[in-house]
Structure formats: structure tokens, C-alpha cells
Amino acid sequence: MNDVIGLAPWLVGFPLIGAAVLLLGGRATDRWGHWLGVAASAASAVVAFILMFRMIGTPPEERAVDHGLWTWLSAGGLDVDLGLRLDPLSLTFVMLVTFVGTLIHVYSVAYMDHDVDRRRFFAYLNLFVAAMLTLVLADSYLLLFVGWEGVGVASYLLIGFWDTGRPSARENAVAAKKAFVMNRVGDMGLIAAMAILFATVGSVSFADVLPAAGGLSETTATAVGLCLLLAACGKSAQFPLQAWLGDAMAGPTPVSALIHAATMVTAGVYLMVRSGPILEAAPTAQLVVVVVGAVTLLFGAVVGTAKDDIKKALAASTMSQIGYMMLAAGLGPAGYAFAIFHLLTHGFFKAGLFLGAGSVMHAMGDQTDMRRFGGLSRFLPITWITMGLGWLAILGIPPFSGFWSKDGIIEAAFVPVDGQPWRAWVFGSVAVLGAAITAFYMTRLFFMTFGGRRPRWTENQHPHEGSPLMWWPLVFLGVGSAALGAVLGIGGTFTTWLEPVVGHAEHHEPVLPVPAIITVTLVLVVLGAALAFRMYAVALVPEEAPRGSFLTRAARKDLYQDAANETLVVLPAHGVARLVQVGDRDVVDRGWGVLPLAVSWFGAMFRKAQTGYVRSYAAGMAGGVLVIAVVAWLVIQLGGGLGGAQ
């Protein structure tokens, strides 16, 4: 590994240079800028492939390499080293980000064809790729944080990309701000976690912290674990910081595919798995992680059943699928591999589904309401087939990708922890129930879009496939959705691959026999899918959404998440802010207002001393000598210095 590790910085370097050229180059790069963006991402992908083949040829125990880049600051007890860590876990992410990222870059060339700001779009995409790779390649929490903030910025810029000239410009800007602010809440967790780690371990690098995690007191480990979880919740849109993801769909669809489905939102899962040893030292934190995952997976699934906007339905689904990953990440080493495995397969099929949705929107004049789709399978055959593969994958139908990873998570959820079978039953059932609801809403989405006997289009629609630049990425992702799971899942290839990082998991028996779990899950999935098929493919879909039951209405309103945030956070915060404002204005300002006044007053005084007369300056110097003499004399008189000299 050591001979090619020098390539690793280029993974980040290529897209970073791409972003810099595109942003600084300005209009001059408009004509070819998008291809530069694609090339930068592709170059990273090539490097990633080289590194992966080298890593496969390396004995497992030598696969983790830390590559120091430079010491930023070394002073006293504080050493800030920046470096990259290349191991199977980070490389898995690198492959996902660069490969799927490149496909999405290519897709965007066509999708953003008519946008005057296409160059800027690619600059941000490159920036995102660079930041995301920094995040996963970092060898310390500090550098990870740099990438973490970097993807946050890129996400903000891209959600709000259409902030002018469109009817929805204002909402787009609001959505971007919402995402940014909610992410800040999570980031506080990461900062706090780093602070605690620095105070207790004295370092924030993985190489120092993770081996020392076992020696932390349980309280410390729990605190760090919960802080990290808060960070993960913000970035991965997990309960209770989930509200931004749906609105984030305001960004262009390739952005939703890359950032808000395949990669960035899964960074929270990466953080959990990377920090595994800390969580293992804190069973309480682990339990909270599992609960958050379980709640979110149901939350997202329920919201997904009622959404008519195709992108918002997919966003809810993303939230729910990440819930699965979180749940797995909270289960300890047995779950880590499956969390990452599901993350990988999800990255493929969800990116495929989003790009498919983009293709549909492209064909239907940016329409996103599924009630105005229907019967598109004949007009968009490639999109139909590739989205169909993604649909089967997310449902977890064997042998498609999702089955191998999601089934692993469900089985792991059924394994009792610490001899407490109730947890196995509760979380296992939630996972199975989630799978059934997933089957329902995805089937609903699929048939509302492609099926149905009667198209419900708005007028003047002439759907057609986009250019090859758009459908080739779909084909690649479709193949991935179909086959990736089986390729990596059969024989446990992927779990073995990750073993050097996450450790070997002892096999425990679930509370139910494995075949029983698989059967029950599949039966429920098929039932859910069949129900949706009957309601949305066989029956007619009304063009206007019916009022629906209480549950439907609640789900349509995201289970009142915004209202809840408004009442529980915003209103009290407003109250506090008003109080603080009063205090600030009437108490603090009046008090501290003296300070600038004093500064100006002294400034004016000294300014007067600056008369311009040499004689007064010379007198000042003579006075200064006198002052110094007095100081020296006082030291002798009073004895003692001003603080330990040598």
C-alpha cells in the first residue's frame, strides 16, 4: 500500500483544483467548465480504482494506512497534524463517492444543459466531492470536521442553487437556510465531542482516540457517543433533526441524488461506524443510536406513503433507509458491516431512483406531482427499467442489491443484546414493519409514475427519454442496483473486506431462526407491494389528492415536524431571544457601551499628546526614561517580580 498511498491526496486534490478553476476562472470557463468538472471527478475515480486494486492485493492486516500530510501547527502540547487514513472503510466510501459522483456529473451535463449557471453548478459539485472525500479520508476528527463543514457548505450552495429567477427562488433559499441551520445544531455535537476527547484523551486523531476508547469512563464515552450521535442526526437527517431533508429537494435533482441520497446524508452513519470503539464503551449511547434509527426508519416510511411529490417521497425514503443504517450502526460490530453495506447498495439504487425521477421530471417539464404522471413506461423505457431495478432493490427482493444488505440488518436487529430478548423483538419487528411500509410507498411511487391505465398528465406533455448522457448513468446505476448486493454479499465478501476496520463480529443466534425472518419479511414486503399495486395501479388515481384519513394527512404534513419544531424550539427560542435582547440592550449595552467610549476618549487624549512639536516628543521621551527608572526602583522597593522570570 505504501507505494501508492502518495496518490491519496490527489483524490481530494483533483476535484478541489476543479472547483478552484471553475470558481476563479469565471465566465471564461463557461464553455468547457462542465467537462472539466466531470474530468476532475473521473480522475479521482481512477485514482480510487488504482488504490482499491492495490488494497485488494494487500494482506488484510496491512490495509489500514495513515498518510501524514503536514503538521499545521506544533506548539507546546498542541500538535495539529493533518493526514489521511486509507483503510477498507474509507476506501469503500471513496469508491462510492467518486464512482457514483462521476456518473452524476455526467448526468448533470445534460440535465443542466440549459442552465446559464451550469459552470457554477459544476464548481459546487466538485467542491462537494472534494469535501466529502476529505471527510471520509480524514485521519482525525478535526480534519473530518473540515470535510463535514465543507459538505455542509456545498449542500447549502446547491440546495439554494436556483435562488434567482424562478418562482420558487425564495423557497429554495429558505430551504437552503433551513438545512444549514439544522446542520449547525448537529455540528455543535461534533465540536463538543472533539472538546471532550481532547480534554480526556489529549488528541483528536483516530489513531490515538479509538484505541484509547476502551479506557474511557462510561460517562465520558456516553457523553462523546451522544454528542457524535447529535452530529450524525444533523447530517443524516435523523430524528429529531430530520426536518431539513424534504425541503432540501429544492435543489437540482442531481444534487438530491448525489448529496441528499447517496453520499453526504450517509456521513452520519460513517461517523458512527468510524467511532465504533467509543460507542461500544457506552451501551447507553448505543441504545440511543438504535432507538433513533428505529424511530427515523418508521417516521420516514410513514411520511413516504403520503407524499405526492416524487422527490419528497424519495427523500422520506432516504431518511428511512438511513434509519436502517443507524439502527445497524448501534448494534455494535455485528451491525457495522451491514450498515456500511446497506449504505453502499443504497447509494447505488437511491441515486438511480433519484436520477430516474430527474429523467421523468425532465420528460414532463419539471412536474414533480406523481398524481400528474402515470403510464410513462411506454415513453420512458430506459428510465422505467432502471427505476424498476432500483424499486426491486429497495424492496429487498432477492437477488437484487437491497435484499443482501437490508436482510443483514434485519437479522442483526433480531439478535438479543446483553441477553435482553425484548430489544431483539422490538427492534427486529420495527425493521420488518419498516420493510413492509417501504414496499408500500415505493410500489406506490413506481406505479403512480409508470403504471396506471390512464395518463393524468397536464396539457402539452410529450415525454421522451433524455440524451444518452442522461440515460447511460441510469444504466450503470441500474446494473449496480441489480447486482452489487449479490456480488459483494454472497459468501460475506463485503463483511470480510471491512473486518480489518470494524473488527470481527461473533455470530449470535437471532431470537427467530434466520429462514423464518427472511420468509416473514418477504411475505410482508409482498403484501405491502400488492396493496399499493391494487390501490395505485389497478384502481384509478385521482388527480387531486383526496382528503384522506387522519394518518394520511399527518404523514402528508411530515407528521407535523415543522409545527413541532415551531412550538418546541422556535417559539421558546424567540422568547429567550426577546429576553436576551432586552437584557442586552438595557443592561449590557449600557454597561459595556462605556468601553468603546473609553477607548475613543483615551484615543483622543493621546492624539492630543501627538502635538507635532519635537520638543514635546523629546520631553515625552525624557519622561519615559523617568517612568522606567521609577518602575525599576519600585521593583526593588516592593520586592518580587511580575511573574516567574526564569
Binding site: W70, T71, W72, L73, S74, A75, G76, V599, S600, F602, G603, A604, F606, R607, K608, A609, Q610, T611, G612, Y613, V614, S616, Y617, A618, G620, M621, G623, G624, V625, V627, I628, A629, V631, A632, L634, V635, I636, G639, G640, G641, L642, G643, G644, A645, Q646
Partner: protein
């Protein structure tokens, strides 16, 4: 019969000084023998080559001196890694400074009077200007000043140090008086600088006399040795030594620009030609702070062991001066309305921050001081380099009282140094503004710039020396300083320039014809001794940014790049200066 034994001289160790000072001598000959046409080019090439050569020799010497410091000519030149580092730093900064000096900008005029000896407002001055005279003697003068600065900290002998002080000061006095515009102001500044400098020199040499009276020698290391060994004739009278050292210190603090010996700084920085101000602010500070470190630290080696209260006295004085300097620099700086004066007070504040580090009396201060001086030096030269390019332009004039025809000849006048005139600079010259903003941020000590690492080093020097409260004061002062740097930034970037034709200020009379005679008030104060200008016309000026002809742009770019590199990737340079703290300064 005694035979003459020629002294063994390590010529290589003297080489940096010889190259620079020798080139200065050659420069004088150039003035005499090279035809006027080629003189300027020859001088610039010679000056830059000498400084680059001096720096190169420093680099060659570095490994040898880091391994073992040497004394040449019986200690007259004592090269420690710290001293050699100072030499390299002065040579490098002087190189950048000379680049700014050499730039004639798109106006085709440099910053210097055609004939500096012409009485302002006389017909001779007119004649000199019209016949296109040039004062190329500034280049040898710069070399002599740089040579003096390089020698300043590289000696163990207080008399040699005094000579170095004069060698570096006298050319600066002259250079200050050579401004092309606002000539009276420039000459006034030079006179003030000279008088006060003479006063400080007198204090310095008086201190040397007292020290000699106490120890019977003027060699610092010998004094330290004798104090430790005991048996000095006046052993009981350490007050002599303390008084002597304090007076020497005062002489140096004057050059450093520390309060209460700072009063010349704003006036001189404002009056001197701006490129000279940049050179002086950066290089003099390096030399003077380094000499201060050398004197204080060498004296305290001996004294610290024998008489701790003497140590405490010295430390107390430095601490008090540091606090005063930071306070005055930042507080008064925050009420300035002129860019050059603001930078002058910023320079005073930085002297305070440097003294905070020095006050720790810790060996590692040598490293952090060198780094600080480098960071401050590049930011200062760059900032003054930018100031030389922001000019006033005549947009419309009514001559005299009869409301004559309005001229709009677009003649570029002197520098626009009112802060208000810098409004909207970000639109007019984005790159220049970006560079200036970078220098300000570095001076403010914002992370990812050189200034942050520098301040960190200086303040940790103080905490390591047990003076954590002084470091806290330093941080507080930095916060106040940030306010005035940001104020300037806000004006440049966020405030819109008023419409160009609106009079931005009634120009000083000296702008009427370049150098036509009268001197205007510098913004702020310092006007008491000025001749009241004879205002013969009122006119309107706008602010314009003139293009550099290359050298200044290169200097500004180099300064900006160094500022960023030192902030992001300081380790190599930190490692280099670290080597300087292995020995006593």
C-alpha cells in the same frame, strides 16, 4: 623585535555584511561614473543583486553557524544563529522593500523628489522637475541602511552596535526627507526623526558609558562572564549596570517604536515617502527588536545567576513598556482617519506584541520573535506597497477666484491616504484589495494567516515565562486591534465609493503642481510646525488606482503568498527559526 601577526579573519562570516555595504560603496561610484541615462537601472540591479547576494551568503553560512556560532574580529561581529537569521530576514525584507521603491507605476514617476535638496517652492525645484532629474542616491542609501541593520544584532560589542545604529539611522533620516509630494511634511518628518534619534542615540551611548564604568568592558558576553565570576571593582554598584542597561534599552526601544518612545513614529511614517516607510517599518523593526533581544538576553545570562532582583527590574521595565505600547498602539490606532497613520499605530501595537514575547525571557523567544518579524515584515511591506498605488486624480479644477475653465486632465496626484477615500476600493481593484485585506488580517492575527502563528508564538513565549496575564492582555489588545483593521476592511469592501465627480475632499495645495511648494496637513494632527499652505485654487479629486510597472506588484504578490503560506504551512519556517534558539542570542 615583535613580528606583525595578521589577525585571523573569517571572511565568510563577514560576507553578508561586506556584500551589502560594499555594494553601497559601489553604488556611490555608480553615481559618479555611470551616465545619467543608465544610472537608475544600474542602481536598482546592483541593489537587488547585493541584497539577494547577502541573503544567499546567509543561506550558505546557516548550517555552519547553526552548528557553532563564531566570533570575528574579537567579537565585533558575533554570529549566532539568531543574529544570522536577523541578517537574512533584513536582506529578504529589504529586497521586497526595494522592489516597491523601484516601481515608477503607470504614472512614470517614483515616490522621490527630483532633487531633494531643492528648497520647496523655488524655481530650482521647478527646473529640476522639468529637466527630469532623478535622485538615484536613494539606492546606495538603502543599502547602507540595510547593512547597518544587518550588523546591528550581529555584534557583541556595544560600541560596534552604536556604530551600526548610526549607520542604519543616518541614511533613513535622509531618505525620509526625499518625498516627491508634500515635501515640507517629508522634510519636517526627517528633521523630527533626526532630532529625536539623536536624543535616543545619546541615551544609548550614555548607557554604554555607565556599563563600561561598571564592568570595564563593552562586550556583552564578557560582562556576563565577569559578573558571574565576581571580583569586579564596582561589584556592589549594580545600579550602574542596571541604569546603563536601561539607557541602552531606551535607545533601542526608540528604534523599535515602543511607548513612551514612540512619538516620532506616526509623524515620520506619514511624512516619509511611502515605499521608504514600508522599508523602514519592516526592516528597522527587525534590526531593533533583534538587538534588544541580544542586549537583554546576553546581559541577563550573567546577571540572572548573580542578582535575581536585577533580572526582575529588567523584566518589569519590559513588561510595563509592552503594556503601554500595546495600549497606546491599539487605542490610538482605532481613532485614526489616515491609512498611513493607522499603519504607523499598528506598527507600534506590533512592537508591543513583540515585547510581550521578549518579556518572557525564554530562549525559545528567539525563534518566535524571528517568525513574528517575518510575518509582520511581509505584511507591512505589502500593505505600504498597496498604499503607494492608491492615488488621487484631478477630475475638475477651477483655478483661482475667477472660476476659470474647468480642467479635467486626469492628472494623477499623490497618494489618497484618507480612510474615507478608500471606500469602494474593492470594486476598483479587487486583487489589490484582496491582498491588502490579507495583510490586514495577518496583522490582526486571524488564523490561516502568518500573523496568527506569529502571535501564538509570541504569547506562548510570555506564558512559558510565567507571564500568562501579560499574554491575556496581549490577546485583549489584539481584539481591539482587530476592530480597527476590520474598520478599514469594511470601508474598502462594503462601502460604496461616492460618485466619482463629487468632491471627496479639497486637496492640499501641494497637489496643485506636484511638489509645488506648500505642505498640507497630514490627516489627524502633527500640523503645529507646518507652513500654512498657500491655497491658490480649489479643485476636485477622485481616487484612482495606478498600475504597478511590475516590481511593486511582484513585491505585493510575494508578500501575500508568504503571508498565506506561513499561515497554512508554517512548519518548515518554524523548523528553521527553531534552530536559532539553540544558542544564546
Amino acid at each position: 623585535m615583535t613580528t606583525f601577526v595578521p589577525p585571523e579573519i573569517d571572511w565568510l562570516a563577514l560576507a553578508p555584511l561586506l556584500v551589502v555595504l560594499g555594494a553601497g560603496v559601489v553604488g556611490i561610484l555608480v553615481e559618479a561614473f555611470v551616465p545619467a541615462r543608465a544610472r537608475r537601472t544600474t542602481q536598482i540591479v546592483l541593489t537587488l543583486a547585493a541584497l539577494a547576494g547577502g541573503f544567499a551568503v546567509v543561506a550558505v553560512l546557516w548550517p555552519q553557524i547553526v552548528a557553532q556560532p563564531v566570533q570575528v574580529l574579537g567579537g565585533s561581529v558575533t554570529l549566532t544563529p539568531f543574529a544570522l537569521g536577523t541578517q537574512g530576514l533584513v536582506a529578504a525584507l529589504a529586497f521586497l522593500g526595494v522592489l516597491v521603491v523601484a516601481d515608477r507605476t503607470s504614472t512614470g514617476q517614483d515616490a522621490f523628489a527630483p532633487s531633494a535638496s531643492a528648497v520647496p517652492g523655488t524655481s530650482y525645484e521647478d527646473l529640476a522637475r522639468r529637466s527630469g532629474l532623478e535622485q538615484t542616491e536613494i539606492y546606495p542609501l538603502l543599502l547602507f541602511a540595510a547593512g547597518g541593520m544587518m550588523l546591528f544584532a550581529s555584534t557583541d560589542d556595544l560600541i560596534v552596535m552604536f556604530i551600526a545604529l548610526e549607520v542604519l539611522s543616518l541614511p533613513l533620516y535622509v531618505l525620509c526627507a526625499t518625498a516627491r509630494r508634500r515635501r515640507l511634511l517629508s522634510q519636517e518628518a526627517a528633521a523630527k526623526y533626526f532630532l529625536l534619534g539623536a536624543f535616543a542615540s545619546a541615551l544609548f551611548i550614555f548607557g554604554v558609558a555607565l556599563i563600561y564604568g561598571f564592568a570595564g568592558t563593552v562586550r556583552l558576553l564578557v560582562i556576563a562572564q565577569r559578573v558571574q565570576q565576581g571580583g569586579l571593582p564596582l561589584e556592589g554598584m549594580t545600579v550602574l549596570l542596571v541604569a546603563g542597561v536601561l539607557l541602552v534599552t531606551v535607545g533601542l526601544l526608540f528604534k523599535v517604536g515602543a511607548v513612551p518612545f514612540h512619538a516620532w513614529t506616526p509623524d515620520v511614517y506619514t511624512g516619509a515617502p511611502t515605499p521608504i516607510t514600508g522599508f523602514m517599518a519592516a526592516c528597522t523593526k527587525v534590526a531593533a527588536v533583534a538587538a534588544l533581544v541580544v542586549v537583554l538576553y546576553r546581559i541577563t545570562i550573567g546577571v540572572g545567576a548573580v542578582s535575581p532582583e536585577t533580572m526582575q527590574q529588567l523584566q518589569a521595565v519590559i513588561v510595563v513598556v509592552a503594556v503601554l505600547t500595546m495600549a497606546v498602539g491599539t487605542v490610538v490606532g482605532s481613532v485614526q482617519s489616515d491609512v498611513k497613520r493607522l499603519l504607523a499605530y499598528s506598527s507600534i501595537a506590533h512592537a508591543g506584541f513583540l515585547l510581550v514575547g521578549v518579556a518572557g525571557f525564554r530562549p525559545e523567544v528567539q525563534a518566535s520573535t524571528l517568525f513574528y518579524l517575518l510575518a509582520y515584515g511581509v505584511a507591512t511591506i505589502g500593505a505600504f506597497g498597496v498604499v503607494t498605488l492608491v492615488r488621487e486624480r484631478r477630475v475638475g479644477a477651477t483655478s483661482g477666484e475667477d472660476n476659470g475653465p474647468v480642467e479635467d486632465d486626469g492628472v494623477v496626484l499623490g497618494e489618497a491616504t484618507e480612510i474615507a477615500q478608500w471606500a469602494g476600493l474593492g470594486r476598483k481593484a479587487p486583487w489589490l484589495t484582496a491582498a491588502f485585506a490579507l495583510f490586514l488580517l495577518s496583522m490582526a492575527g486571524i488564523p490561516l494567516t502568518a500573523g496568527f502563528i506569529a502571535k501564538f508564538g509570541a504569547f506562548s513565549g510570555a506564558t512559558n515565562g510565567g507571564l500568562w496575564w501579560l499574554a491575556v492582555l496581549g490577546v485583549l489588545a489584539s481584539v481591539v486591534a482587530v476592530a480597527f483593521y476590520l474598520r478599514l476592511l469594511v470601508v474598502m469592501v462594503f462601502r460604496r465609493a461616492d460618485d466619482e465627480t463629487v468632491p471627496e475632499r479639497v486637496p492640499d495645495a501641494e497637489d496643485l503642481g506636484e511638489g509645488a511648494g506648500a505642505s498640507g496637513a497630514p490627516a489627524g494632527v502633527g500640523t503645529a510646525t507646518l507652513v500654512t499652505p498657500q491655497v491658490t485654487a480649489s479643485q476636485q479629486v477622485a481616487v484612482t488606482v495606478v498600475r504597478s510597472r511590475g516590481p511593486a506588484a511582484v513585491a505585493i504578490a510575494v508578500c501575500a503568498v508568504v503571508t498565506v503560506i506561513l499561515g497554512v504551512f508554517p512548519s518548515p519556517v518554524l523548523g528553521l527559526v527553531e534552530q536559532a534558539s539553540k544558542f544564546v542570542p
